[in-house]
């Protein structure tokens, strides 16, 4: 199976790659869009701002090959943290910016979503499964995952929300729609629960 981790210049990918390896799969980090042809699964990580990440993806022509993978080939993709937010229709970080629009929805600052606690939301927080979830198969509701973020994803259709986390009110923790998956937390930094979740994605 060909698992590819997209390197578009945002953040460290080493622990995602080793996590995949430890789980018994092989992953390659790719930094050019023509290399994703034939991928079985794509992981889209990301640390940084929404607008910077989208300009990287656009300027380097990642958009078409990614939508080919998701819509024409109907193959799985997993966005992690900023990578999940990029799956939305629009984001507000760094000015209103168009996202990949793989799962319709908006990404807004946590204060806009009603959060009055310190931002970023950083640390281990218990995460609760909401809808039927492939990612959380064999993972009980209430396990802790590791978060570092200032923005939150609100999908237009709530049925795409597979888990939530309570900080100051509910924040979307993961989304799932057909072959498109995303986690606001970092599974590669969430110890056993995170590795199990990654394995569920890789086992698809």
């Amino acid at each position: 199976m060909k698992v590819l981790i997209i390197d578009y210049g945002m953040g460290n990918l080493g622990s995602v790659k080793t996590a995949v390896k430890v789980l018994g799969f092989k992953a390659d980090i790719v930094n050019a869009p023509q290399l994703i042809k034939g991928a079985d699964k794509i992981i889209l990580p990301g640390v940084g701002s929404f607008s910077d990440a989208m300009s990287e993806l656009k300027n380097n022509n990642w958009f078409d090959p990614l939508s080919e993978h998701v819509f024409n080939e109907q193959k799985p993709i997993l966005g992690i943290c900023l990578g999940m937010q990029l799956l939305a229709t629009t984001g507000q970080e760094g000015g209103q910016t168009e996202g990949l629009d793989f799962i319709p929805g908006q990404v807004s600052h946590l204060t806009k979503l009603g959060c009055e606690k310190p931002i970023p939301h950083v640390g281990w927080n218990d995460t609760h499964v909401k809808n039927k979830s492939i990612l959380f198969k064999g993972i009980g509701s209430g396990n802790d995952f590791f978060y570092v973020h200032s923005y939150g994803f609100l999908p237009s259709n709530p049925s795409a929300i597979s888990s939530i986390v309570n900080y100051d009110g509910e924040i979307v923790a993961s989304i799932e729609k057909d072959n498109v998956f995303g986690t606001q937390f970092h599974p590669e930094k969430s110890s056993k629960a995170g590795l199990k979740l990654l394995k569920n994605f890789l086992d698809l």
Binding site: N12, G14, T18, P118, W124, N125, S190, S191, A193
Partner: protein, 255 residues
């Protein structure tokens, strides 16, 4: 709800891990990568790796080794020792550190905190303060506890918070390695003056000490080394104890 963390501290010296008493009498306690793998398999909350001799090196930080370590760390990984400038912080984050811990730099080049917090975010900037008790007062030391500074502890931590530090790691040199318990007054002095999370360090010998640092001291996390190196007590047992005592902790993975 965010969880109180139990953090094993690994002190890195030359090629291996060491542990001392009051920052002296170092004993070898193993090598880094196997320790990281063991702590990961035990589902710890976070790991700190502090290079205690980096300040004496004339060469740059060992990014290759840190890259190897971080690749096997599936929990947040904090790295400190010898960090003097923004470029080093950028490289450390790029090779997989999730946070960097600054100590000597907070006295010598405090602007680095502002710059780093602005560029990379407060969440990845830990200000580490080593403190000794002298004549009923606290003295802050730099260079791995080898040099006195003239900074007043309370004004220092307030300044660090204003500059954008995301967390304070407070270590009592007097208690370090003694396993006699954390210096609760010291922790209190800090938590009562700032709002950012405080990691208590120095003196943990049993789980009750951890509870004291959290409940009485107000710490958001407890760091410990000797208890995990030299006794049978594990981070997981610590959290089971803390959970039973009503402290919100991350318990081990449940199916």
């Amino acid at each position: 709800m965010l969880k109180v963390r139990v953090i094993p501290t690994m002190l890195w010296k030359d090629l291996g891990l060491v542990k001392g008493v009051s920052f002296q009498s170092w004993r070898r306690v193993g090598t880094v990568l196997p320790a990281i793998k063991v702590y990961n398999s035990r589902d710890v909350d976070e790991l700190f790796l502090l290079d205690i001799t980096a300040n004496q090196h004339t060469y740059d930080l060992d990014y290759d080794s840190i890259s190897d370590f971080s690749n096997y760390c599936f929990v947040p990984f904090s790295v400190g020792g010898g960090i003097k400038n923004l470029e080093q912080i950028k490289k450390l984050l790029r090779v997989g550190a999730d946070k960097v811990s600054l100590n000597t730099a907070i006295y010598e080049t405090p602007d680095l905190i502002d710059l780093a917090a602005k560029k990379f975010g407060s969440q990845c900037i830990v200000a580490s303060i080593d403190v000794k008790s002298v004549n009923n007062d606290y003295v802050c030391l730099s260079h791995s506890g080898s040099r006195n500074t003239d900074r007043n502890l309370v004004s220092l931590v307030k300044e660090l918070e204003d500059r954008g530090a995301g967390e304070i790691l407070i270590t009592s040199i007097d208690r370090d390695g003694t396993m006699e318990g954390y210096d609760i007054n010291l922790i209190n002095k800090i938590t009562s003056n700032i709002n950012i999370p405080v990691i208590a360090s120095g003196g943990a010998g049993n789980f009750f000490h951890m509870k004291e640092a959290i409940i009485e001291g107000g710490a958001s996390a407890v760091a410990a080394a000797s208890i995990f190196h030299f006794t049978e007590q594990t981070p997981e047992q610590a959290k089971i104890f803390l959970h039973q005592e009503g402290v919100p902790v991350r318990l081990t993975f449940k199916e």
